[in-house]
Symmetry: C2
Subunit: 292 residues, 2 copies
């Protein structure tokens, strides 16, 4: 095992595991944005351990997940090792906030941070996943991992697909490629989004649009990702009809002339057996766009 | 999704998930050997769904695992789909036996069946994982899946590596290729094995030898697997020194002239990040031996 790459003292390495000749690491640090300890995971491919600067892809996970889920279930490291891609997964919400009832729902509160900055009390104090990922975590990693700030992509699943699309559309200067698995593509138009945005952002629905990928796309003056966005969606996904609405995002892309590859797959459901089936094509999508 | 392959009515399909153009299935059935419901998982590659007969590999999991663990964490379906291999994983013990204290230890009782037929009460009534896998489950699957009874391999991890080696050495007529990750290779010589064998088999240690891979190898008159056995072992595995003893199994293979590829890997530990790193080579080992 190669020595650790230097990270600031306030970042604790919780565990590391050799994997596909690279290393899978789990970290904890005291987040200033969140105001609490936060965990994240990093996969460094062998090329990074050997000293190369590598393209990096953030993966944002879905409801109920943690920074571990994708690294355990995604089967991504085999591809990342071969292609020389750094993988990064933050947690899905703050933890241990002491907000009463924050664990009562599986789709709101703990593990359901929706990658936004809450404005409603009591959530606004800690639920700042948007600023945490875009600014704090991204900058820590850029400063201390063998990453190029011009070669950073973002992807995600379900709530994390929403997060990936939103973060990319709001910050195309920071995220240079984007893809999603079964994203909540129009959260202002579905029950999950309505519940989350009501709770975190309040009743003024105009404020919700800043976190709705379809609305954000409709507000573009030209295609923000001219090389194209990739979205995979299973047709046996039980959440497709009510919660996801990739068709609305597709219509917005059409209107803005944003190249999009939206693939509907017969037989596939909402889980990680679906994600792992297409993870290779997503990582190749990112590598191609980040290194072209 | 293709229609189900016919299985007997007493076998219940609990769930299925499209995966790499094949299908991941989880079943439950009323096991006669165990005397209780048992779960198992099957991955059918696209070739099997298209009607081809495929080589099949049993995977036996380790302590604390279930029939799900390998299918979630192993990353094996990507390779199995490409190579046309059926994957099968039984559970690691009976469940819900009502034996007092059966869940008190993580290394004995529930999820720690050690792939043997217990002879000591109260374990002997239900803890019959050896006969269950070798006879009952194997025959059910041979009768109802597109398998060839001459193309069945077996592999496993830790306790399941022990199980794979023991089942293969006791039944080379049923299992035609074998490999293991970090197996408990000489269980009569380690604390895990002593605890399990004392409890399940009693104090007469001569009875233990029938479930010790190293002892079984030493009893061979000639190499039972002339094409070779593959074992991968991480050198950062915290259980290596006290529990696993692959060197003793290697010495037995040398004495019997059994071809062995025992690979020690720097930096790798005992977990699934290790297994997924080498699963492709294990599946290719089995396919090559089963279809040559």
């Amino acid at each position: 095992m190669k020595p650790l790459l230097p990270l600031p003292d306030e970042i604790t390495l919780l565990s590391q595991h050799a994997c596909h000749a690279g290393v899978q690491r789990f970290y904890q640090h005291a987040s200033k944005e969140i105001g609490l300890p936060m965990r994240f995971s990093v996969y460094l491919p062998p090329q990074a351990l050997a000293g190369a600067t590598c393209p990096a892809v953030f993966y944002l996970a879905g409801l109920t997940c943690t920074e571990e889920t994708f690294m355990i279930k995604g089967g991504a490291q085999a591809v990342a090792a071969r292609e020389g891609i750094i993988l990064i997964t933050p947690d899905t919400s703050p933890r241990n906030t002491n907000i009463p009832g924050d664990s009562d729902s599986w789709d709101f509160g703990v593990a359901a941070g929706f990658y936004l900055d809450a404005t409603e009390t009591p959530w606004s104090q800690h639920y700042r996943m948007h600023s945490y990922i875009v600014h704090e975590l991204r900058n820590i990693l850029l400063d201390h991992l063998p990453m190029d700030r011009q070669q950073v992509g973002i992807m995600g699943h379900s709530m994390g697909g929403h997060g990936a699309l939103v973060l990319a559309l709001r910050h195309p200067e920071y995220f240079h490629s984007v893809s999603a698995f079964a994203p909540i593509a129009a959260p202002t138009q579905c029950p999950w989004g309505n519940k989350a945005f009501s709770g975190y952002l309040g009743s003024d629905t105009t404020s919700w649009r800043a976190y709705d990928a379809t609305q954000l796309m409709l507000n573009q003056r030209q295609a923000p990702f001219p090389k194209g966005i990739l979205i995979d969606q299973g047709l046996d996904d039980k959440f497709l009809a009510e919660q996801l609405h990739p068709d609305q995002f597709a219509a917005a892309c059409q209107q803005i002339q944003q190249p999009l590859n939206l693939r509907y797959h017969a037989g596939y459901d909402h889980g990680y057996y679906f994600i792992t089936s297409f993870i290779e094509e997503h990582l190749l999508h990112h590598k191609q766009q980040l290194t072209a």
